[in-house]
């Protein structure tokens, strides 16, 4: 068996993303470097053969997923219920945490102008954020950060996949607010 065949079989059988370390457990002959190389081989091959699926990186893990253009066909089937789209309140808090982590509840509430207690609890329940430490301030407040599942939920390989803050339409500079407003308007979301 060649490494890419073993990795392919393992990826095929899994319903969740697998890290290179996890994939390497399939055989004694495999190490993480070989797994990563095998994934590259598979990616190129699927690309050449125009397969309906591809190996995607979600956080530290890899998973076989269908290509987006096949979604309309699959959506005609009964699907296993998946977590619903996040509410605006949850997204607002996640946005702030993603860009400002580690960050405490008070700071999140300062930005949003509303209480964040219940939404933080929900995000922790869904394992989209976790407590990453304690702040220095009064009462040593809990500090939150995003999780691996956060990356998986949004289909990101890492936080670097998010646009840098100064490339956003309304960028926040240390400099004059005037400069911030010259950026381009927001691109409309690509969703249906």
């Amino acid at each position: 068996m060649r490494p890419e065949q073993i990795v392919e079989a393992t990826l095929f059988a899994s319903q969740t993303p697998l890290t290179p370390a996890e994939l390497a457990r399939a055989d004694e002959s495999l190490d993480e470097t070989q797994v990563e190389r095998a994934i590259e081989v598979l990616r190129e091959r699927y690309e050449e053969d125009e397969r309906a699926f591809q190996v995607y990186q979600l956080g530290d893990g890899f998973q076989l997923l269908t290509r987006p253009e096949y979604a309309p066909y699959l959506e005609r089937f009964d699907s296993v219920p998946r977590p619903p789209h996040l509410s605006p309140a949850a997204l607002e808090s996640l946005a702030i945490i993603a860009y400002r982590q580690p960050i405490g509840r008070i700071e999140i509430e300062d930005v949003r102008g509303v209480s964040a207690t219940s939404v933080l609890r929900t995000l922790i329940d869904w394992e989209l954020i976790r407590v990453v430490g304690r702040g220095e301030g009064l009462g040593r407040p809990l500090l939150y950060g995003t999780t691996e599942r956060f990356l998986e939920h949004f289909g990101l390989a890492s936080l670097e996949d998010l646009p840098p803050p100064d490339e956003l339409p309304v960028a926040l500079g240390e400099s004059e607010p005037d400069e911030a407003r010259e950026a381009e308007p927001a691109a409309p979301p690509a969703e249906l």
């Binding site: 987006p68 102008g113 969703e191």
Partner: protein, 293 residues
């Protein structure tokens, strides 16, 4: 910074996008969201907010919905109103020359609005990413076939209960065994037996009424006799859990017990034996229920 003293057009509905000014507060995440909406929908320069104008609009917008809001949420909107009113007042105050260097009273609000708007952009980025991720399907996306339906009895018993119950089942009677025909067991007979036993002891195991004979007919007659006496309030039946021994407790007082102990064939008994009728072990019924009483 004179724009702050611009009077709000009180009274008249404010046209936003051609429609009259109706704001559904539920649509907004909070006061910053509402404020940003008021500013953006009217093409107001965020760096030069006509504070009196916006404050008026803000107060009118929350006036309607405030009562229907949870207290905490209402508080968040009210806090912003207070901030707006304070800024408005500061803008109206004549400022002496020496305070010229002082910051614009709106600066902090503008900073917060820009920061909030900045994160609204991040929200868009995340929403787009979430939608795109939703178009990639993983293994297991299509729902499994429904599993076979297994109907389960609503009993909760442990393996131990089951084994104990199994141990109490007598060995099957060999088929070849020849048994006397038409040995009829009557409920009345069992009632008498039970009355006798319960006269001596405070409680009797149901088992004792049929175990010595070891046949199903005796067991059924014994159970019916127990139920009959329970109906007559002579005994009380207790079983702590499924498959555990069934105990029959005497309800009678001491004198009652001795009195009824040996009157085997009094009224109720005869009646019960007829009601319960004879249960035959084998073959056709040879005699009436009264046969053995």
């Amino acid at each position: 910074m004179i724009s702050g003293s611009t009077k709000p057009q009180a009274g008249s509905p404010i046209a936003i996008g051609g429609e009259s000014f109706v704001v559904e507060l539920d649509r907004f995440q909070g006061p910053l969201d509402l404020l940003l909406h008021l500013i953006r929908s009217q093409d107001i320069d965020i760096l030069d907010i006509p504070i009196a104008h916006i404050t008026g609009q803000f107060l009118r917008a929350i006036e309607e919905g405030l009562d229907r809001m949870p207290l905490e949420r209402a508080g968040e909107f009210l806090e912003m109103s207070a901030t707006l009113v304070r800024i408005k007042a500061q803008m109206l105050l004549p400022r002496p020359e020496r305070y010229e260097w002082e910051e614009d009273p709106r600066a902090e609000l503008v900073r917060r609005l820009l920061e909030y708007e900045h994160f609204q952009d991040v929200v868009h980025v995340l929403q787009t990413a979430e939608a795109q991720r939703g178009r990639h399907m993983a293994k297991g996306y299509i729902e499994d076939r429904p599993p076979p339906v297994i109907s389960r009895p609503q009993l909760e018993v442990s393996l131990r209960d089951l084994l104990e119950a199994a141990a109490r089942i007598p060995d099957p009677v060999p088929v070849a065994q020849v048994r006397p025909p038409s040995a009829t067991v009557t409920v009345g007979e069992k009632v008498s037996l039970l009355r006798r036993l319960i006269g001596k002891a405070k409680r009797v195991a149901l088992e004792r009424l049929f175990k010595p004979w070891g046949t199903r007919a005796h067991a059924v007659a014994a159970l019916l006799a127990a139920l009959e006496l329970a109906r007559q309030q002579v005994i009380r039946i207790e079983q702590t859990k499924p498959f555990s021994p069934i105990w029959l407790f005497s309800l009678a007082t001491g004198s009652d017990r001795s009195g009824s102990a040996d009157t085997g064939a009094d009224g109720p008994e005869l009646e019960s034996s007829r009601v319960g009728s004879g249960i035959e072990e084998n073959g056709p019924r040879a005699a009436g229920a009264e046969e053995l009483s």
